[in-house]
């Protein structure tokens, strides 16, 4: 899905440095609410960066071809020779993407307002498929209309958490505009990093070191310092998981003077930090997220759809993952990851069954609950109720363990419903695989 599965790191970049790149790589393909980040569109990321003093090209996001034309006209009138039309979806690889209509490229440089209008008409409302969207692609609802610039050099810049070091890291590379995984694999020495003391924030000298590493000279060193300090502050103060500029470009500025500009911007936000940023929370685009996963999140369920035929409903993330593994171990394939949390109320189990039933691939359901604090009898009552409420027709295998488990199992038995019981986790998984076959 990420397109990075085959990516191998060069030996020089192993350890802490390698890890950072891998974390970074994980962001490149993800676009769902269950991720550890909420993604926002490029135009929103650029607005955010601009607030922290990071220079971005002049431009505006639009939802109709007429608006696109109007913005293009204005940019051309301001003296810009070219206008770029950029499809706004939460996935990379837009430039090389293809619309389902056959149109090539989700990013296009245009020379006139009429050309922009024509392009906008061809892109808006259409499905764009890139190497990160999967074959289903994504509907383009908005375009970013931006001034075209003359690019002199392309760089890479990102801020993210280094889990192993327990602090943020800012990294830059002279190899901009390409996959950073490729750079890490073939020329790891071209990636330069500064680890940041979270109590102090990025220091000016660190930012200058990075600017110099990019080859900045003279006035550009100060400009680079200011830009990088802004990028770091945008990461920290927005509770971001990732801020990435790829490319960060050296472009021909006014009067032909070279200047630095964030040509592309990607921002992922830490879900856990959103409560203090209502303005950023409002940027969530549900159209970019899988509908069943959005529905699940409304019920406090953590659901991720997979491709198999055995749905599972488990309490606890670790146990849920282990249950998926067990299904595979027994020769089946899990249809989803579903964590109902520590409890497992009637409402939650009912909602979970309803979501599972919407997945047409599901042939059987495996419920695996360790009733630690909660009474298994209460959980069993909930399951029976949910089966009745949802008129569940799929084969259901339930494995209960823990507090008052005997009463719980008896209740399932007494319900008269065709619920299969598993004595152990392995036993239940085997049964589920058998009935799904």
């Amino acid at each position: 899905m990420t397109g990075t599965a085959g990516w191998k790191l060069a030996p020089q970049a192993r350890g802490v440095r390698g890890l950072i790149l891998k974390i970074e790589a994980a962001f490149r393909g993800r676009h769902t609410p269950a991720g550890f980040a909420m993604n926002i569109h490029e135009y929103q990321a650029k607005q955010l960066l601009a607030r922290f003093g990071v220079p971005v090209p002049p431009g505006e996001a639009v939802g109709t071809p007429d608006e696109a034309r109007a913005v293009a006209k204005r940019l051309l009138a301001d003296g810009h020779a070219k206008v770029v039309v950029k499809a706004q979806i939460h996935a990379g690889g837009r430039g090389k993407g293809t619309f389902k209509t056959g149109l090539q490229g989700g990013v296009r440089v245009c020379a006139s307002a009429d050309e922009v209008l024509e392009r906008a008409q061809a892109m808006l409302g259409q499905v764009l498929v890139t190497r990160q969207t999967g074959p289903e692609g994504r509907v383009v609802g908005k375009l970013l209309i931006e001034a075209g610039v003359r690019i002199l050099r392309e760089y890479y810049c990102a801020v993210l958490l280094d889990r192993a070091a327990g602090c943020p890291v800012i990294m830059v590379s002279t190899e901009g505009g390409m996959d950073i995984e490729e750079v890490a694999a073939h020329t790891p020495e071209r990636i330069v990093r500064e680890w940041v003391n979270p109590a102090l924030g990025l220091q000016s000298f660190q930012a200058r070191k990075l600017a110099v590493a990019l080859g900045c000279q003279g006035d550009l060193i100060r400009a680079g310092e200011k830009l990088l300090l802004g990028v770091y502050r945008a990461w920290w103060e927005s509770d971001a998981s990732l801020v990435e500029l790829n490319p960060l470009a050296l472009v021909e500025g006014p009067a032909g003077k070279p200047t630095l500009l964030a040509l592309d911007g990607k921002v992922g936000l830490d879900d856990n930090g959103l409560f203090r940023h209502p303005d950023l929370q409002a940027l969530r685009d549900l159209a970019e997220e899988a509908p069943l996963e959005v529905e699940a999140s409304h019920h406090g369920l953590n659901y991720i759809k997979l491709d198999g035929s055995i749905a599972c409903l488990v309490n606890g993330a670790g146990l849920a993952m282990a249950t998926m593994d067990l299904i595979q171990h027994c020769g089946g394939q899990p249809a989803n990851f579903l964590d109902v949390g520590g409890g497992a109320s009637v409402e939650q189990v009912t909602a979970a069954f309803q979501i599972i039933m919407k997945d047409p691939n599901v042939r059987a359901i495996l419920v695996n609950i360790f009733g630690g604090i909660m009474d298994c009898d209460v959980i069993a009552t909930g399951i029976v109720q949910a089966v009745k409420d949802t008129k569940l027709k799929l084969p259901l295998v339930v494995r209960l363990e823990g507090n008052n488990v005997r009463a719980g199992k008896q209740r399932l038995k007494d319900s008269g419903l065709p619920i299969l019981s598993g004595d152990s986790m392995a036993d239940a998984a085997r049964t589920a695989v058998r009935v799904a076959a």
């Binding site: 994980a26 327990g166 602090c167 993330a317 360790f370």
Partner: protein
């Protein structure tokens, strides 16, 4: 002996008057844990009553420690205030702070981690089930339970358990107990990307604890903490270790519930972790059903 907490450890609860904190304060009291104080700013002077128990509430942790000699705390305060609660516990000189709260922003935990460096206070969590040192009474009554784990599944004994996951830890503990094998201490370190104690930190303590004779290490996809622990075990650990890694079927780039459980760019996979464990001489359980069995086979040798 056990690690980190003993049956006589004096425990305070930060956020004792909230619904979640109150419920688990009651369960810890029922388990026989020495809950000596609660802290809720503005409710100092009141008390938390449960059955025969009458636990004094204080406005600040420092005051609670001074008055009651509390040594360890459990944090149940909401995420926006949890980082502050951890730092308050460290400031008051507690030996151990266990943060149960889920959903703390990464930037908060980065500050906490920085601020706690060089301090004697140890942190377990956040987003964790906590720690249990089982007691010797019926259903392990009389032990020290800090957090949200069910007490009765434990049994006092000599196996140490360390894990990132809650319910998966309960599974391992319950498997041990049903096989008649007790635990010295069970530690749930939590599933966040910026945790307090790591697998490795806990393993070192188990290795030095004369009453821990075997260890179950439960990991999951994401990060490299299990690999680091395995490398250390290979060189230093003198005790039999059984392991299990959850998430073999998890697709890359998707977070599996825990903020830390994500496979990134082909690293942090279950396969890589299992290989690292096996390379360190750890017996890796093939399925979660045989976590205890795998260790018991080693112990019988």
């Amino acid at each position: 002996m056990a690690i980190l907490v003993q049956p006589d450890t004096r425990v305070l609860i930060q956020g004792i008057t909230g619904g979640f904190g109150a419920r688990h304060a009651q369960l810890s009291l029922d388990y026989g844990t020495q809950v000596v104080a609660g802290v809720t700013p503005g409710k100092g002077g009141q008390s938390f009553r449960h059955g025969p128990h009458d636990v004094p509430i204080f406005d600040t942790v420092t005051e609670a420690v001074k008055q009651t000699g509390a040594q360890a705390s459990a944090i149940f305060v909401p995420a926006p205030f949890a980082a502050d609660a951890i730092l308050e516990g460290a400031d008051a000189g507690l030996e151990l702070v266990v943060c149960i709260t889920e959903g703390i922003p990464v930037t908060d935990m980065l500050k906490v981690r920085q601020a706690m460096q060089g301090r004697p206070t140890r942190l377990i969590g956040p987003n964790c089930p906590g720690i249990v040192t089982p007691g010797s009474g019926p259903d392990s009554h009389g032990g020290c339970r800090i957090g949200i784990a069910p007490g009765y599944i434990h049994r006092a004994g000599r196996v140490g358990v360390v894990s990132r996951s809650g319910t998966l830890t309960y599974e391992a503990v319950w498997q041990l107990t049903r096989a008649g094998v007790g635990q010295s201490t069970c530690v749930g370190i939590g599933g966040d990307p910026v945790p307090g104690m790591s697998h490795l930190d806990v393993l070192r303590l188990f290795n030095d604890d004369p009453d821990t004779h075997g260890i179950i290490l439960i990991g999951e996809i994401g990060g490299t903490a299990e690999e680091e622990a395995a490398a250390w075990i290979k060189e230093n650990c003198r005790k039999p270790v059984a392991g299990f890694i959850a998430g073999a079927t998890a697709p890359p780039g998707r977070r599996m519930g825990h903020a830390g459980a994500i496979i990134s760019g082909g690293k942090g996979t279950a396969a890589a972790k299992v290989a690292a464990l096996a390379d360190a001489g750890i017996a890796v359980a093939e399925t979660p059903s045989v976590m205890a069995e795998t260790l018991l086979k080693l112990l019988k040798r």
